[in-house]
């Protein structure tokens, strides 16, 4: 969303919502264990079924959260995808900030001092 200037931050608004609907819809489907299994079994077919565009497909293939966000992903839905790979929000936080997971955890602890 426009009208703000907060570094490293996207307000998930109309532009992102429109762009990301297919990717987010796929991630929403991961509320079902059966669908998570289907994704793991045949990722290409599963992504095709939800009509991911090339940018979204590539971002998912690379397991790259920043690219998924740029492709319209919403973090609450992407977290369901991350869960399939047993990645938690410290893991994806570390990935997005270019830190190791331990460095990222240290940063969180440091915020409390």
């Amino acid at each position: 969303m426009r009208h703000h200037n907060i570094p490293g931050t996207t307000l998930f608004g109309g532009d992102e919502a429109q762009k990301g609907i297919a990717l987010n819809r796929m991630c929403f489907s991961f509320n079902s264990a059966e669908n998570r299994t289907a994704f793991l079994k045949d990722e290409d077919a599963y992504c095709a079924k939800f009509g991911l565009n090339a940018e979204q497909r590539q971002a998912v293939r690379e397991r790259n959260v920043l690219k998924m966000l740029a492709a319209g992903g919403n973090i609450y839905y992407l977290a369901k995808l991350a869960g399939i790979f047993e990645l938690n929000v410290q893991d994806i936080g570390a990935q997005q900030t270019g830190m190791s997971v331990d460095q990222f955890k240290d940063k969180l602890v440091a915020a409390g001092r």
Binding site: A33, Q90, L108
Partner: protein, 289 residues
Amino acid sequence: MARIIGGLGTTHVPSIGKAIAERKQNDPYWKPFFDGFHFVHRWLAREKPDVAVVFYNDHGLNFFLDKLPTFAVGAANEYRNEDEGWGIPVSKSAAGIPNLSWHLIERLVADEFDVTICQDMLVDHAVTIPLSLMWPGEAPWPVRIVPVSINTVQHPLPSAARCFKLGQSIGRAIDTYEENLKVLVIGTGGLSHQLDGERAGFINKAFDQLCMDRLTNDPESLTRYSIPEIVEQAGAQGVEFLNWIAMRGALTGKVIEVHRNYHIPISNTAAATMVFDNQPAVLRGQHAA
């Protein structure tokens, strides 16, 4: 008549559900957070609310981005939780109180809050984790609930001022409900945290402390923050504080802060728990613990 006995705010981080299931309450990582609930347990045992109105945000269990209400009120007999996709245990259900739900809905719409009315509604961890923290154990939760969902996920979000007024409207509506019920108002989520983007891991202790102080002493001042200002100060997901602002708006009496716990970090989040009495305890001939 129904009366609002107090308000409670708490973080609802999903991994708390896992920690409860794995009985990690006394682990060094979790203890500073869970210890903040000892007071809450005593307070609830004394106050014995019959009903909880819960302001929360759904994270893609009941609502998807295709049809996302800004404000939605549950009017069901039962609220089930289901698999949310991120590996936390599925929770037991919460009981509803549809007659109170419809009363609140009628008053809200009369007040020009044109809410979405949900006779079927799944509730996610943002409802079930606070209830599990407040009433631990296997037994059914001893309250019936009215869930009130606020969109904090897809911008444009309702303003802080609008959420405060939503809470005020619900507070007034509870005060006019004829059944003799003790009502607790709950706001869940926050405080500062950001999960997405290069600024992931952002936490702002000073802003959180300001918010907690103002929630007690000057809640209306919080309504002057714009949504981008809250995102800047509290992080992209720190906007869940809107649920706390709505909770505080519903407290219509004299409000006293009786408990506060604040700990960094739980997962990526600055975790907070606050309890407010909605009348001076002395007027009721009781003493705060």
